[in-house]
């Protein structure tokens, strides 16, 4: 099983740990490591903590490690660690911390490799609005699917909070699990950031489309989640 780990570097130990907590909810099987604060737990970043987190992930069997940072000297520190390690399996992505961590964690949960997880993290750079607008061409609800195996379903979000972070991550994981291209309301359903950017709440209409070899299976699996309210009320 291919595995990509994440190291989250912050000036604050609490911020790094908190972000691990958030990302873990969406990516329970990914090795997520916090590297926040200085060696004596002041605000700042520690070369040793970052180095230990990366080394720990690799020792734990990670095939690759994506490092994300909050700002300023955290990025400098992480860059220095990477220069020292000189290891192709480790990559820093300079992108909005929280959004990139969520997107990368979901991609890693789906078995993404170094390039895949890094690319997912980079989707956070364009920001929520752009991610929603550019992830996929807007779907025309009246359009009749013509290509082989393409399916379209119209659904209603039944849970009150709708497509918030956790359900969006569920959908993105399923979309990535199947050999299919899936879109929801015109955005790439494999992108957790694009899904969250739709801002769909309970009662909203969802246009689910899928194409590709496993289009039917993908659409059914995601539709079942939506109709089941993602296990929420």
């Amino acid at each position: 099983m291919r595995s990509t780990s994440l190291v989250l570097v912050s000036h604050s130990a609490q911020l790094a740990a908190g972000l691990v907590e958030v990302a873990a909810q969406m990516a329970p099987d990914v090795d997520l490591r916090a590297a926040g604060g200085t060696d004596d737990d002041r605000i700042g970043t520690s070369f040793e903590r970052v180095e230990n987190a990366v080394a720990g992930a690799l020792e734990n069997g990670a095939d690759a490690v994506v490092v994300l940072t909050d700002l300023g000297s955290a990025t400098l520190t992480a860059e220095s660690v990477l220069e020292m390690l000189d290891d192709d399996r480790v990559r820093l992505v300079d992108a909005p911390f929280v959004e990139a961590a969520v997107a990368a964690a979901v991609a890693a949960q789906g078995g993404g490799d170094l390039d895949g997880v890094a690319a997912a993290a980079r989707t956070a750079i364009v920001g929520f609005q752009d991610a929603a607008g550019s992830a996929a061409p807007p779907a025309d609800p009246a359009e009749t699917p013509t290509s082989d195996g393409a399916v379209a379903r119209s659904l209603t979000l039944t849970n009150s909070l709708g497509l918030h972070a956790r359900p969006a991550a569920m959908v993105a994981r399923k979309a990535a699990d199947f050999d299919a291209q899936v879109s929801i309301n015109g955005v790439d359903a494999a992108s957790v950031l694009a899904l969250m950017a739709l801002g769909l709440t309970g009662g909203a209409q969802v246009e689910l489309r899928a194409s590709g070899p496993q289009a039917v299976e993908a659409a059914e699996a995601i539709a079942a989640d939506i109709e089941g309210g993602f296990g929420e009320s």
Partner: protein, 213 residues
């Protein structure tokens, strides 16, 4: 060939001890400079960093100039907070790679300074005139290269580099900062020397003193 044509492990060890001595001696001044246009921790951070280097030096038993510089790099990166740790850490790390072999000649001095400058630029993305360490390292590397081109010794290269770094640090006084925390101050940074450029000049001076120049 005189004994100062090239420099080896003994010089490298003396340089590092000299770095620790000079940041200890000028700790308060660096703190004052950084308090004026930064967050006031530069002197304390470097003092802590080089004190830690001294602590590791005896146990590590480095064998080459490169080993010494790499030990400085890893220690500074892990003990100096803020931006200075990664900046100086990367400078010494790349300098260690450039100091290939048991002895460093004048061209080697230029290579170490050029590599160190490259590391600082890679991390900090600053240019000459941004009121940073780069304003000291850039003329230092050029001066050492000039000595190497003229057939001078390693010690002469360090002396020229140290003088150029000192002059370079002084050029930061009237500048507006374009990188780091001082850049938030705009014109209020004018009249204050950049603490990173000042500490760079001190460290390069220590290399020249260790070389007997």
């Amino acid at each position: 060939m005189t004994d100062t044509d090239t420099l080896g492990i003994d010089w490298a060890l003396d340089w590092v001890r000299g770095c620790a001595a000079t940041v200890t001696e000028h700790r308060a001044r660096l703190i004052d400079l950084d308090r004026a246009i930064g967050d006031g921790d530069h002197g304390e951070n470097l003092y802590r960093g080089f004190t830690a280097v001294l602590g590791k030096l005896d146990a590590a038993e480095p064998a080459t100039v490169g080993d010494v510089l790499k030990l400085v790099a890893t220690t500074l990166m892990s003990t100096v907070g803020g931006a200075a740790g990664p900046l100086y850490g990367t400078a010494f790390l790349r300098g260690a790679k450039a100091a290939d072999g048991p002895e460093v000649d004048a061209a080697g001095v230029a290579a170490v300074l050029e590599a160190g400058l490259g590391g600082i630029v890679a991390r900090g993305k600053a240019e000459v005139g941004d009121k940073t360490m780069v304003d000291a390292w850039t003329p230092a590397a050029a001066a050492a290269q000039q000595v190497a081109d003229d057939g001078g010794s390693a010690a002469q290269a360090w002396r020229a580099a140290a003088d150029a770094a000192r002059a370079g640090a002084e050029t930061t006084d009237p500048l507006v900062a374009h990188k780091g925390r001082a850049s938030y101050l705009g014109e209020r940074a004018i009249g204050h020397r950049d603490p990173g450029a000042e500490s760079s000049a001190l460290l390069i001076e220590a290399a020249a003193v260790a070389a007997g120049a």
